[in-house]
Symmetry: C2
Subunit: 122 residues, 2 copies
Amino acid sequence: MPLDTSIAARLKRTPDGLVCAVVQQHDTREVLMVAWMNDDALHETLTTGRAVYWSRSRQQLWRKGDTSGHAQTVVRASLDCDGDAILLEVDQVGAACHTGERTCFLTGGDLGAVNGLEASDG
Amino acid sequence: MPLDTSIAARLKRTPDGLVCAVVQQHDTREVLMVAWMNDDALHETLTTGRAVYWSRSRQQLWRKGDTSGHAQTVVRASLDCDGDAILLEVDQVGAACHTGERTCFLTGGDLGAVNGLEASDG
């Protein structure tokens, strides 16, 4: 079964047919990772209760957790104002990152930005 | 002054030279929006304490808030594990979305996903 046509009509896809998915732990609100979805991945995500992405490296659907066990149960999915990004609130089993870190941003780490709030305190 | 070479070397850019930026309110942890950065935008963001993006529609640097007043003060920037997404924690003045909504995902709204947590309760 394909993606609901009223949703499909609202998406603004990349030339590769993808929208960006920001994945957030629903209760702690940690941003866990960013992934990509094609229409099939979004359809499965919306209808099965489990997060499914498009793997750009493997060029196939990626049912997160199938190999790692680190599945994501879907709580809510929201589209952004221009239709090219989805906020996916999930319950993450274990680590979101393939490295074993809880989030992919803990793996990459802090870029040492000037903190504008502290700077304006001075 | 260009982007720090040690950071530039870690980025995995789109063919257009961009990385994805997920923007989160630092205290409430709301995901406010998704935007894009080229090297110059990231450099300004990291060094000035203010969020700067690349506007794909206007093809120019976008110092958020210059026209709307809804600027974002940078608190922290983190790179993800594969270098193609940045988590930008900010303090948002007013609305993040150009529609006047607090977040771009409130504007687009709920896609009616099956809630996998509720489904598994039954």
